[in-house]
């Protein structure tokens, strides 16, 4: 099965930009897995990811199945703006965070930073 993608990559080699984008996406995916553990152990059957999309956007994504086996997906996007922190869930309108929720988000972001740094710093020479 791995032969076919390899063959395709020989026939249509990726540009430097595509390689960069692939690597960048993969980096965020790996970070997101680490970020999912920020909130403690992940219960079985739940896929949880938390990551920094860019300097002012944080994303919390969860997928789970209910008792009937129905799949649920909830994506919460936090936008940090100078005049406040706002969240939108599953494309619903933006709403402001309470101070408590913002504090929780900050604590999660801080922990995420520590965990990602712990993974990356040893791998970077001179960082």
């Amino acid at each position: 099965m791995t032969f076919f993608p390899k063959l395709l990559s020989v026939v249509t080699p990726k540009t430097a930009e595509e390689k960069w984008n692939d690597a960048y996406r993969r980096a965020i995916q790996e970070e997101a897995k680490v970020g999912g553990k920020v909130f403690g152990p992940i219960p079985e059957g739940i896929r949880r990811e938390f990551f920094c999309l860019d300097e002012r956007t944080w994303v919390w994504h969860e997928e789970w199945k209910d008792e009937t086996g129905k799949q649920h997906i909830r994506t919460t996007r936090y936008d940090v703006r100078p005049h406040g922190i706002f969240k939108a869930q599953n494309d619903q309108p933006y709403q402001p965070l309470t101070y408590q929720e913002a504090s929780n988000l900050f604590a999660a972001a801080k922990r995420y930073q520590e965990m990602v740094r712990a993974e990356l710093i040893p791998l970077l020479q001179g960082a």
Binding site: K19, A27, E31, D79, H83, G84, A109, Q113, L123, L124
Partner: protein, 147 residues
């Protein structure tokens, strides 16, 4: 490259070669995260000093901003503008592209009911909007504030 960059699942990985995509991206990501955490900290501090009425006003500004970004980005101009104006309970104006016939002399173009507004500094500076985009953002912001 997959093997090298699948860093989090492995306990002992070789160093990223300096100047490689992985090396640069890792540094870039650490930098972005650090800025993100700092911004979050600043916003949190600011929240502690803000009154609820101002927060509500900021929500409206944020929604207007988001509306403007969608307007600019997704190409569904009519639907988005009509939706934004409907929420603001004002009469929709014709889309600019429809209001001005392509071959009409400049002087015969009907005047838009949206007048150019001074653009709030935070919108122009934060999003690097062009003047036209900023005008749309300002119009939407004004419409939201009328609500």
């Amino acid at each position: 490259m997959n093997k090298i960059f699948n860093i989090f699942g492995k306990s002992n990985i070789e160093l990223f070669p300096q100047g490689s995509n992985e090396d640069i991206i890792s540094r870039l990501r650490l930098n972005k995260i650090a800025i993100g955490v700092d911004d979050l900290s600043r916003a949190l501090n600011a929240m502690g000093k803000e009154d609820p009425a101002k927060t509500l006003q900021n929500v409206k500004a944020a929604e207007a901003f988001q509306g403007a970004v969608r307007f600019i980005q997704d190409g569904e101009r009519k639907a988005t503008v009509a939706g934004a104006l409907a929420r603001a309970e004002v009469v929709p104006v014709p889309a600019m592209s429809n209001a001005i016939p392509k071959n009409a002399p400049q002087s015969s173009a009907p005047e838009s009911t949206i007048q150019p507004q001074p653009v709030p500094a935070e919108i122009t500076t934060e999003a690097n909007l062009t003047e036209a985009q900023a005008n749309v953002a300002a119009a939407l912001l004004k419409a939201e504030q009328k609500k």
